[in-house]
Point group: C2
Chain length 337, copies 2
DNA sequence: GTGAAAGCGCTAACAC
DNA sequence: GTGTTAGCGCTTTCAC
């Protein structure tokens, strides 16, 4: 592998001149510059970026911890990140942690061991170990999507409470009074916020909150199916007439469970989701859901982190992204018996 | 940030001893070792891995070019890669290229610029530019999934032709004689192989091949919907009675199009997919499809690449992964009129 | 406008 | 068993 010395020799100049030609061409005479460029081609020189990064102390790498890339919502967030990173001259090192704290630690460590400049967490439920921190006990980090806001780090999130309230109100406006909720994992801050929004809407409509209408879930198709099957077993007089699922995968699983026992959506029961993944428009029936600007989440998180790295950010900004209620055919008026 | 010098000073030893304590402890006396470890803690030393990698010339990073992480099949492959990489002491740098040749080049370049040791392509249709190659005109690279086998690089793939033949035969056994195929992008080698398998099965059953039963697609829900709508418009006497989609997303889109015009699956028309993504089991009806060992694809690709990097691989091995025909409810006997 | 030289943090000969 | 030292490839003062 040709190095900068080879180029210098071949061009009959010093290594400093080669470096300058490549980094700050305006400081080199045109004649020399041409000679250097010719030599670069001649010896097939490719700068060793590992050396550059080592020397400069800036890696221009950003580590992203994502619970699972298989989640289609996260996939969109990541696309947005990659775009923004490319524009800003950074590369994304994606860590598919699968919720494994060891994998998380392994990748988070890349920051304290100078392999990456900063970190983005897409699920900030588990506080990172102190040993991963820099000397100041902090880390160049941004938390996005599922966020516990400790005030120390920039945050980009959705007003999940308001979104859940909007969806619940949508169901209430259709006349539903027994509205079930299929939750995400209790450890997820999202779940808490969405539950609050759900309660907000009930309270505002003077509807009772019923603990029995809360079903556990974990954002998977399987969990949705399971909860749907459980709901279907409830006696029709007591059964909820609408189900608000905390994500679209759950909703799709739930609908499938209802169909298998002959319940019609939305005629017999309404189902709503959250996220507006691509499949949601192609379900049967197409899913009423909350759209989040997923790519924008990613773009914003990266931009905030780069601001932090450049020291041009005020203390831990908090960005709230907008949401949109998408009304499709999976929700409808309550059935009149 | 404390460095190895600080540790050495604090422990009253040389930098070499610190390095040895960390790398080959058995070559350092227990007493010195303890003193060094205490100093490491005392000064809060974290080795600068950028320097280590620079020095050793091995980055232990692997770049993976994936067309889109939003494809749930690829997401599973990536999970497998990450697992295998972690076990072997490598990190995955994931490049979500979105088919953009510039992004591809940007990340592929990480190998020739010493930021990564090797490259895995999940879609090897566009040959990489010569400028990205090493001096020998090659690159430590493994091609997986969608592969053009040029014989130069290890390959891990599926016998797509055999799989497509098996699925087509499955449909033929149900009595179907007019079987449509919704293809992937023509540029994808997958599409060519699966088409060949489809033709193989027709030929074996003495059924005519009809160009008009081929529909274009690009592996998305939207494309499936579009093709489904086109098929539905065909006069019933000429209309295919079964549709073989080159992936599950396409099949799900197709089914949705059929439903919207009142066609029943599989009573009026059978639909088959390919990949066995999670949603396939939760469609209505659940999808008959070809399961691929996605995680194994990833694991194998990483293992092969690491073998290449360690120089312990014979010339460009070709690994064919097994497939499985999953029969669910979206395919059935041809309707007798 | 160009060159000489120091040094980023670490590892690995090579001495002792 | 431990220390000294020469770099890895590059950027960046500081001279000239």
């Amino acid at each position: 592998m040709a190095n900068i010395r080879d180029v210098a020799d071949s061009a009959g100049v010093s290594v400093a001149t080669v470096s300058r030609t490549l980094q700050q061409p305006e400081r080199v005479s045109l004649k020399t510059r041409n000679r250097v460029m010719a030599a670069v081609d001649a010896v097939g020189y490719k700068p060793n970026l590992m050396a550059v990064k080592f020397r400069s102390g800036k890696t221009h790498n950003l580590v992203v911890l994502v619970p699972t890339v298989a989640n289609v919502f996260f996939a969109r967030v990541i696309s947005g990140m990659q775009e923004a990173a490319a524009e800003l001259g950074y590369s994304i090192l994606l860590a598919n942690t699968l919720g494994n704290p060891d994998t998380e630690a392994q990748y988070a460590k890349m920051v304290s061991t100078s392999q990456a400049d900063g970190l983005i967490q897409l699920r900030a439920q588990i506080p990172l170990d102190d040993s991963l921190m820099n000397d100041n006990g902090l880390l160049p980090m941004v938390n996005a999507c599922e966020v516990i806001d400790c005030g120390k780090y920039p945050v980009v999130t959705l007003d999940n409470r308001a979104a859940a309230k909007a969806m619940t109100r949508h169901l209430i406006e259709f006349g539903h009074t027994r509205i079930a909720m299929i939750k995400g994992p209790d450890s997820s801050p999202l779940t808490q916020d969405r539950l609050l929004g759900y309660k907000d809407a009930l309270r505002e409509a003077n509807l009772p909150f019923n603990e029995n209408l809360l079903f556990p879930g974990d954002f998977t198709l399987q969990a949705g199916y399971k909860a749907g099957a459980d709901i279907a077993k409830i006696d029709e007089k007591l059964r909820p007439t609408a189900v608000f699922c905390e994500n679209d995968e759950t909703a799709i699983g739930t609908i499938q469970a209802f169909k298998q026992v002959g319940m019609r959506v939305p005629d017999d029961i309404s189902v709503a989701g959250f996220d507006d993944i691509a499949f949601s428009a192609f379900c049967d029936p197409p899913l009423t859901t909350i759209a989040q600007p997923a790519e924008e989440f990613g773009r914003t998180a990266v931009t905030l982190l780069v601001d932090v790295l450049n020291g041009k950010t005020r203390k831990a900004p908090k960005v709230i992204m907008p949401f949109e209620l998408i009304t499709r055919q999976s929700t409808g008026p309550v059935k009149t018996m």
